[in-house]
C-alpha cells in the first residue's frame, strides 16, 4: 500500500514535469544559456586578463623608466664627482702656479676697482658711457686676470690720462624731467661740462649728464659762453673738486634771496638801500628845480649818492650770515653716548659765534675734495649730494663706517666741522611708534639708537639700527616710526644718529 503511494507521488511529479511548456527544448535552452554564460565569462576573463597584461606592461615601462633614471642619476653623480675631483686638483695646481703672481693680481684688482669707481664719478664717462661695461667685469671679476685683462687695465689707465687732458665737444645724453635728451656738450677735462653757457653735473652712475638745478652766477655762465665761442685759448671756469664746487656756487643764494631770507636786519638794510637810491635820483632833480645846481653838478651829486648806495650794498653783502648758514647744514646728534638711565636728548649747546666770511679749514686742494664736506673726526658725516642720488646706494662705506668709528666721541654735542655753524636738525614731525603688544604687556622700557639719512626733501631714508636696549624688542617699531619722520627741507642730505626712547606708555596710542 505504501509503495503504491510513493509511486503515485512520483507519477504526479513526473506528470508535473512532463507538463513543462516546450518539452524537449528544455535541455537545449539550458545548454544554450550555459554556453552563452560560458562565452560571457570567457570574454570577461579575457578582458581582465588584458587589463592585467596592460597593467603589467605599464609597470614594466615605468620600471624601465626608473632604471633609466637611476642610471641617469648615477651618471650625473659620477660626472659631478669627476668634475669635483678634477676641479680640486686644478685648484691646487692653480694655487701653486699663482703663488708668485699674487702681488701682480692684487695690484691689478686694486687698479681695476679704483678705475671703475673713479669712472662712475668722472665726466669722461658721460662722453664714453660704454667704458663702464668694460670696466665693470674687470673690477668685479673673481678670477685671476690673464694678460689680456692686465693689458685692458693698462689701456684704461692710458685712456683716462688722454681723456683727462681733452677739451672736447660730444653728444651727451641729458637726463631731464621728461626723460633723456641728446645735447652737444663741451667737456673740459674732468673739470667742467658746458653747453650754451649752462653747466652740467654727472648723473648718478656717470653715464649721463644732468643740468644743474640751479646754475652758477651769471659771471660764470658768461665765462662758459665765451669759452664755447672762442677759438684757441680762452679763460674757463675749472672746478678743482670736479663738480662739488660748481654745485656749491650754484646753490649760493643770490642778492634778493639773501635779502628775502635774512629777516629784520635784511629788510632794514634793504630799506636804507632803497632810500639811498631814491635820494640819488630825487635830490639832484630837486636841487636842479630850485636852480641851486647847474647841470654838470647834478651828475656829480648823483654819482656821489650812487657811490653811497654801492658802498652800502658792498658792506652789507658779506656780513650776511644767512648765506653761510644755508651753505653748511650740519647735523645734530640728539643723544650720543649710551648712558644708563639717560634717555633724554642732550640739551643743545649755545650756538657758536658767527664765523668770519671764509672759515673753511684749509684742506689739500690736490685731493680735490671740498673741505666743507668733512666735519673733522666728528661722529656725524655729511653726505655730499650730487644733484640727484640714484637708488640710495650712496650711503655705504665711508659714511657709515666713519660713523661707527666715531661713536662715543663728541658725546652729546652737535657734530660740527671746524668753523662751521651747525644748524641742529630737528624733525618737524615725528611718527609715534607702533609698540609691539607683548612688549606693552610686559611693560618694557628701553631705547633704540638709529642712523638714517635725511634727504634734502626732509624725508628719511635708510634707517639702520646701531644699538638698542633691550635688544630685539623695539627695533622694528623704531625703524617704521623713524621712516615716517619729516624734517625741514634743506639743500643737502644729512646723516643723523639718534636715540629714540621707547616708553610702554606709548602703547596707549597704538593703532589697532
Amino acid at each position: 500500500m505504501r509503495r503504491l503511494f510513493v509511486a503515485l507521488l512520483l507519477l504526479s511529479a513526473g506528470a508535473a514535469s512532463a507538463q513543462a511548456p516546450v518539452q524537449g527544448d528544455l535541455l537545449k535552452q539550458v545548454r544554450d544559456s550555459s554556453r552563452a554564460a560560458a562565452q560571457a565569462n570567457a570574454e570577461r576573463e579575457q578582458r581582465f586578463t588584458r587589463a592585467r597584461n596592460e597593467a603589467a606592461a605599464r609597470l614594466a615601462a615605468v620600471q624601465a623608466d626608473v632604471r633609466a633614471n637611476e642610471a641617469r642619476a648615477a651618471g650625473a653623480r659620477r660626472r659631478w664627482e669627476a668634475a669635483h675631483r678634477q676641479a680640486a686638483e686644478l685648484d691646487r695646481r692653480l694655487a701653486v702656479a699663482s703663488r708668485d703672481l699674487d702681488t701682480a693680481y692684487d695690484a691689478a684688482r686694486g687698479a681695476a676697482v679704483d678705475l671703475h669707481d673713479a669712472a662712475q664719478a668722472s665726466l669722461v664717462t658721460a662722453q664714453f658711457p660704454g667704458r663702464m661695461a668694460e670696466l665693470a667685469p674687470l673690477a668685479a671679476s673673481a678670477t685671476r686676470p690673464g694678460l689680456a685683462e692686465l693689458e685692458q687695465i693698462w689701456q684704461a689707465l692710458q685712456f683716462d690720462i688722454a681723456q683727462a687732458g681733452a677739451v672736447q665737444q660730444f653728444a651727451a645724453s641729458l637726463v631731464t624731467e621728461e626723460g633723456s635728451a641728446p645735447r652737444t656738450v663741451l667737456r673740459v677735462g674732468v673739470f667742467a661740462a658746458i653747453a650754451d653757457g649752462e653747466y652740467f653735473a654727472l648723473h648718478a652712475g656717470g653715464k649721463a649728464l644732468v643740468e644743474l638745478d640751479r646754475q652758477p652766477s651769471w659771471r660764470h655762465r658768461r665765462i662758459a659762453r665765451r669759452f664755447e665761442q672762442a677759438e684757441g685759448v680762452a679763460p674757463m671756469v675749472l672746478d678743482p673738486a670736479r663738480g662739488a664746487l660748481l654745485l656749491a656756487e650754484a646753490n649760493r643764494p643770490g642778492l634778493f634771496e639773501r635779502l628775502w631770507h635774512s629777516g629784520v636786519g635784511g629788510y632794514f638794510i634793504g630799506a636804507i638801500l632803497l632810500l639811498a637810491l631814491a635820494l640819488a635820483v630825487a635830490q639832484p632833480l630837486w636841487l636842479r628845480s630850485r636852480l641851486i645846481l647847474d647841470e654838470q653838478s647834478v651828475g656829480v651829486v648823483a654819482g656821489v649818492l650812487a657811490a653811497f648806495a654801492l658802498v652800502q650794498l658792498l658792506l652789507w653783502g658779506p656780513r650776511e650770515p644767512a648765506a653761510h648758514e644755508e651753505e653748511v647744514a650740519m647735523v645734530s646728534l640728539l643723544s650720543e653716548q649710551p648712558q644708563a638711565g639717560d634717555d633724554e636728548p642732550a640739551p643743545p649747546e649755545p650756538p657758536p659765534p658767527p664765523p668770519p666770511p671764509v672759515t673753511v679749514p684749509p684742506e689739500s686742494g690736490a685731493a680735490g675734495l671740498p673741505a666743507l664736506a668733512a666735519p673733522v673726526a666728528g661722529p656725524v658725516s655729511r653726505i655730499q649730494m650730487p644733484v640727484k642720488i640714484a637708488g640710495g646706494g650712496s650711503l655705504t662705506g665711508a659714511g657709515f663706517g666713519g660713523f661707527a668709528r666715531g661713536s662715543g666721541t663728541g658725546a652729546g654735542t652737535y657734530g660740527r666741522g671746524q668753523g662751521f655753524r651747525g644748524k641742529p636738525l630737528i624733525p618737524l614731525s615725528t611718527a609715534r611708534p607702533q609698540m609691539p603688544e607683548w612688549a606693552c604687556k610686559q611693560n618694557i622700557k628701553g631705547w633704540v639708537e638709529a642712523v638714517f639719512t635725511v634727504l634734502p626733501s626732509g624725508r628719511v631714508q635708510d634707517v639702520k639700527i646701531v644699538d638698542a636696549q633691550p635688544r630685539g624688542v623695539y627695533e622694528i617699531a623704531a625703524i617704521e616710526s623713524i621712516s615716517h619722520w619729516i624734517y625741514a627741507e634743506t639743500d643737502r642730505a644729512a646723516e643723523v644718529k639718534q636715540r629714540v626712547p621707547m616708553d610702554p606708555a606709548d602703547c596707549a596710542f597704538n593703532w589697532r
Partner: protein, 242 residues
C-alpha cells in the same frame, strides 16, 4: 497486472526525469564554470590591482629620480663649468708667468714716452720713479709680479695727475733762465707758470706762452689752493680749445 500499468505510467515521467537531470546537470556545470571563471577573474583582478599599486609606486619613484638626477646633472654641469673656469684660469696663470715681465717692460717704455710727451710737471719725481723701476726691472732679485706692480702703480699715479691740481716750485723762471717760479698743474687740462714778473701757459707746441697779470694772480691763487693754504674754489684759467 498492475505492474505494467505502473511501468507505463512511470515510463513517461522517467523520460522527463532524465531530461531534467541532464538540464540540471548542464545548469550546474554552467554555474560551476561561472564560479571558476569568477575565481580566475578575481585572481586576475587582484593581480591587476597589485600591478597598478606597484606601478604607482614606481611612477612616483621615477618622478623623484628624474628630479634628483636633473638636480645632479645641473650640479654636475656647474661643477664642470667651474672645472673649465679653473682650467682656463690655470692656463692663463701659467701663460702669464712668462708674459708678465715683457708686459712690465712695455708699460715702462710707454711710461717714459708719456712723461716725455707731457708738460714738464713734477719732472724730478716722475723721472726718479722711472729710474727706480728701470733698475728694479733689471734686477733679477725681484719677482716679475713685483716689477709689474711697481709699473702699474706708476701708471696709476700718472692717471691721478689728471684729476688733481698741483703746484711745485722750480729753480728757473718762466723763460727758463735761472731764478724761481711756481708751476701749477690743473689736472691735465692746463699747465701754468708764474714768477715775479710774468705768467705763462704751456701750449700745444710745448713752449711757454705768456699770459696777462690777471691770469698770474689766478695762477698764484691756484697754487696756494693746491698747497692746501686756501679752501678749494672755482678757478678761472685760460684753457686751450682744440
Amino acid at each position: 497486472m498492475c505492474v505494467p500499468f505502473f511501468l507505463l505510467l512511470l515510463a513517461a515521467p522517467a523520460y522527463a526525469a532524465d531530461e531534467v537531470g541532464e538540464a540540471l546537470e548542464a545548469s550546474l556545470g554552467a554555474q560551476r564554470a561561472a564560479r571558476e571563471s569568477q575565481q580566475r577573474i578575481d585572481r586576475l583582478d587582484a593581480e591587476t590591482r597589485a600591478l597598478h599599486e606597484k606601478r604607482r609606486a614606481a611612477e612616483s619613484r621615477a618622478l623623484q629620480l628624474a628630479a634628483y638626477s636633473e638636480q645632479l646633472e645641473q650640479e654636475a654641469a656647474v661643477e664642470e663649468q667651474r672645472r673649465a673656469q679653473i682650467d682656463a684660469e690655470l692656463k692663463r696663470v701659467s701663460a702669464l708667468g712668462g708674459e708678465l715681465l715683457p708686459l712690465a717692460r712695455r708699460m715702462l717704455a710707454a711710461l717714459e714716452a708719456q712723461v716725455a710727451r707731457d708738460p714738464p710737471f713734477l719732472l724730478e719725481v716722475r723721472r726718479k720713479r722711472i729710474a727706480d723701476i728701470t733698475a728694479l726691472i733689471d734686477d733679477s732679485g725681484h719677482s716679475a709680479a713685483e716689477k709689474f706692480r711697481r709699473v702699474l702703480e706708476a701708471w696709476r699715479s700718472e692717471a691721478e695727475y689728471g684729476n688733481t691740481v698741483g703746484a711745485e716750485d722750480v729753480a728757473t723762471d718762466c723763460t727758463g733762465a735761472p731764478g724761481a717760479a711756481t708751476l701749477v698743474r690743473v689736472g691735465r687740462v692746463g699747465f701754468y707758470c708764474v714768477d715775479d714778473s710774468q705768467a705763462a701757459r704751456w701750449d700745444a707746441t710745448n713752449s711757454w706762452a705768456p699770459l696777462d697779470d690777471a691770469a698770474a694772480a689766478e695762477i698764484t691763487r691756484a697754487a696756494t689752493m693746491a698747497r692746501g693754504k686756501l679752501p678749494p674754489e672755482l678757478l678761472v684759467l685760460p684753457v686751450a680749445k682744440p
